[in-house]
Amino acid sequence: MRELLWLIVALPFAGSVVLAVAGRKLPRLVCACVGVGSIAVAAVITILIGVDFLNNNSTGISYDQMLWQWMDVYGLSVDVAFNLDAVSLTFIFVITFVGALIHLYSAEFMWKEEGFARFFAFMNLFVGFMLILVLADNFLLLYLGWEGVGLCSFLLIGFWYKDPANGSAARKAFVVTRVGDTALVIGLFILFMTYHTLNIRYILASAPGTWAVGSGIAMATAFLLLAGALGKSAQLPLQTWLPDAMAAPSPVSALIHAATMVTAGVYLIARTHVLFDLAPVAQSTVAIIGATTLLVAGLSALNQHDIKRVLAYSTISQIGYMFLALGVGAWSAAIFHFMIHAFFKALLFLGAGSVIWVMHDEHNMFRMGGLWKKLPVTFWTFLIGAASLTALPLVTAGFYSKDKILWLSYVSDRGSTGLWLAGLAGAFITALYTFRMVFVTFFGNAKADPTQRPGLLMTLPLVVLGILSFAGGFIELPGNMAHLTLFSDFIEKTLPITTIREFGNNTELLFEFIAAGMAIAGVMVAYRLYFNKSFPSAEPERNALQKFLYKGWDFDLLYDKVIVTPIVFLSRVDKNDFINRFYNGLASLTQVMHVALSTTQNGKLRWYAMVLAIGAIITLTILLYP
């Protein structure tokens, strides 16, 4: 079964190629079958491989599949080879399974759109590159997937390219993540200079023997990798591209935010955890960035009126939680939260997409209201997703994953009270903005009537994801409840176990109560403020602080002032710079010579004969009178 690993990656690429080449000529139904089918089959193979891997692998040995040698130049030998272990298995499961559900949903969502085949070609390509990223056994292949994912995000964010705003959002996503990518590639250069290979496992195995803990080069490498992760995962200070990425169709947002792309940074840090162990400062920076980001993005989410932007900031904030977990060494908790987050965030985006779809591209949730009776399936599944995001205690999957992060951010040997408090405040804000969104969108008086109902293809993924957001948490229960640790046992075959400080007996229970209380308090406050209230459907008046938060803490303005304006100014001043002049001169010289030579080609036979004769005379003269 495991020999089929290559097929998981090959199928999405094959689907993408078929749709790209023949998509215009195929009928929509065939396009949908190819697009959805390729990912669905990949998901089935993933599950079969996963079962096989779980059953026959008690020691946690990873499985390698060497396909072919990519290149071998001057000591740089790179293979196209895949490496399957607990972490990459979890990632490919989420990518293919959630991806397949999103594809299924898109088949109905995008049915009437222009460029149906193009959409599925890009989506398949996106999934394919993400699979390469997480399965790669060396950093160059990982980087290929990394850049491929960036390319596909550009293509999909600008999918409705006729609106220039979408095009500029796509460029922004591409350029901002490119900042991180550049740092990442410099980090990879350092790794290659030191180890003369890019094989991930070899580097991770030999790093502790080569670099001392806290040495400068280890620190530099870890920080460069971190910068790459920040760009892709939209963490401070490179988070500005993600809210604008909402220009994409809703299924794309679901795919970018849940299954692919933004979790690449989490994967990178988890994968290279050895390097971060060698650089404690870098690792605590990860935790601090995560904690700051989750607060910053949460406060911004509170002030949005576009339902998708609320979810966008919520994604940034939830990935902040994952970074917090990575930073305190809670590796398996981060991966667990990644998986649960993929379930409920895909659910929320698809639910929001349904709402937007039935309301004819209405994004402003203050113009919705009262939808819970009219869209029952969407409402109940959305509610489950929202509850999971809020981490309502005991019944939702989000509680188990988020509670684990909060707990470990305090008791881990790298944790601290400050990090825990930030996470706790974030939990309150999360509950508040999530249920603000639910109450405003689905309750209150109806302001517009939906004109169409989502069909089976759109509701089925919602239901499946709803079940997972609810039941997915029961594979990992806290120590003081049932002490079920299926997931962390599985992940800890690959990643190290979190070191825990001493703590009292009842502390964990107390912490759970506090976290649960925070979530419930957030929901209560949202209930008091937003339930069944009538809001004007126009954009609300905002005071200066709200405006500041609404614009995502004005990071765009800051970057515009600090980076964009000076560069534009400099390029305007130096429009005809001297280096350019030299090359321009070279170009005009060539042109002059071209004109001169082309006049000799006047098409007159006698002229040619004369030139020939003169040439012969000159040659003879030179030969005879040297």
Partner: protein
């Protein structure tokens, strides 16, 4: 009896120059072809004269080659001239100057 070499070569040179001048001054492509034939024969004459002076047959053999080549060349040349005439309704080479740079 032997031909003085200088006179033979001088005759060949004069013939060659006549041919060259004809080629350069004439616009009628038919005459240009004839001028080219004159030049070819001038070159052939040099071979014959030298072969005779040194008492070797190679010069005459070479001249036979040149004759054969000239015959083939005239075939192609005349065919081209017919095509040129068909296309431009004239045998003026300056008219056929569409291939200027």
């Amino acid at each position: 009896m032997s031909l003085p070499m200088e006179q033979g070569i001088l005759l060949a040179a004069i013939l060659f120059c006549i041919g060259l001048i004809g080629l350069l001054t004439r616009r009628n492509v038919l005459f240009m072809l004839m001028s080219a034939e004159v030049m070819l024969n001038a070159a052939g004459l040099v071979f014959v004269v030298d072969g005779s002076v040194w008492g070797q047959a190679d010069g005459q053999v070479m001249f036979i080659f040149i004759l054969t080549m000239a015959a083939a060349e005239v075939c192609v040349g005349l065919a081209l001239i017919i095509q040129l005439f068909k296309k431009f309704k004239s045998v003026d080479t300056d008219r056929a100057s569409a291939m200027r740079g």
